[in-house]
């Protein structure tokens, strides 16, 4: 398993299935480990998909939920099954979680009572800040340039 670069989470999952008598050590064949290795490689960088990563690593979250299907029922269901809530709670998401950014438009007299809270990604929130802060500092901020789309006019 170490020679194939399987992470400890995958090795633990295999040992867990054996401890629960869901499968035997005889079921852990070299071909099954090769499948786990090839299916669990990290995907290309979403920011730069053209550049392949130099040393792709096997990710726990990519193959951890599907190990039992492969070893118990010989199902090749990697990435085609809808993950249950239990599975989602046990794996790390490789995508950034959305956070709440409170947009307080400087053109509005008061943001109280307005629905100015939107759920956006952190990268988008930082882009918004970068868009309006220079205008605010230079004193050239106008409602026409309001990036928050809060309805102020």
């Amino acid at each position: 398993m170490d020679a194939r670069g399987l992470p400890w989470g995958v090795q633990w999952e295999i040992a867990r299935l054996i401890s629960l008598k869901h499968c035997e050590w005889d079921d852990i064949s070299m071909s099954a480990l090769d499948v786990l290795r090839t299916e669990g490689l990290s995907p290309p960088d979403p920011d730069d998909p053209d550049t392949p990563t130099s040393t792709p690593a096997v990710l726990n979250a990519q193959i951890g939920p599907y190990i039992e299907d492969l070893l118990r029922w010989n199902k090749h269901t990697f990435g085609s099954q809808r993950r249950t809530k239990e599975v989602l709670s046990t794996v790390r998401s490789r995508f950034p979680r959305p956070v709440i950014h409170t947009n307080i438009c400087p053109a509005c007299p008061s943001h109280l009572g307005k629905n100015s809270t939107r759920r956006i990604l952190p990268s988008s929130g930082m882009a918004l800040q970068a868009a309006w802060v220079p205008h605010l500092n230079s004193g050239t901020f106008t409602a026409a340039r309001c990036p928050f789309a809060c309805g102020c006019s």
């Binding site: 170490d2 400890w8 989470g9 633990w12 040992a15 867990r16 239990e86 709670s89 046990t90 790390r92």
Partner: protein, 144 residues
């Protein structure tokens, strides 16, 4: 990630079953060595009240636990009202199988991640510098 095991007593024999890895609380040691360094073993609460079972438990925990070639050793016991948990640390030993010998340098140790049992205590709780420290829970329960 938190890796947890359960120790079950069936007909006088111990059986270890592994739980699914879950997102758990962080600690100083897992931040230092990684979450795969620590394994938590939940003990049956009624086991400590029986002397014969307690003797078996002592002999079990004082021996290394090998999981997929990785060697874990018991180093701490946490006792709450409802549960008793033993914490095992991954060492730089490596079990090759067959002859029953432990190799002192594991593949992970080449990266300088894990250390030996004695080096761990020498680094984090050196008994030579504080030999008058209060006995811990481990000794209060007479487990070892």
């Amino acid at each position: 990630m938190s890796f947890c095991m359960r120790l079950q007593l069936r007909e006088g024999e111990f059986y270890v079953t592994l739980d699914r890895p879950v997102l758990g609380q962080s600690s100083r040691f897992t931040r230092c060595y990684g979450s795969s360094w620590l394994a938590k073993l939940k003990l049956p609460t009624d086991a400590l009240s029986k002397p014969d079972v307690l003797d078996k438990l002592k002999s079990l925990l004082t021996r290394p636990l090998v999981l997929n070639g990785r060697v874990f050793r018991f180093f701490y016991l946490n006792k709450n009202k409802n549960s008793i948990s033993a914490y095992l640390m991954a060492t730089n030993e490596w079990y090759m199988g067959g002859g029953g010998s432990l190799r002192q340098s594991s593949p992970l140790n080449d990266q300088g991640i894990y250390c030996s049992f004695l080096d761990f205590f020498r680094k984090h709780n050196n008994l030579e510098q504080n030999h008058k420290q209060v006995s811990c829970t481990l000794f209060k329960t007479n487990l070892v």
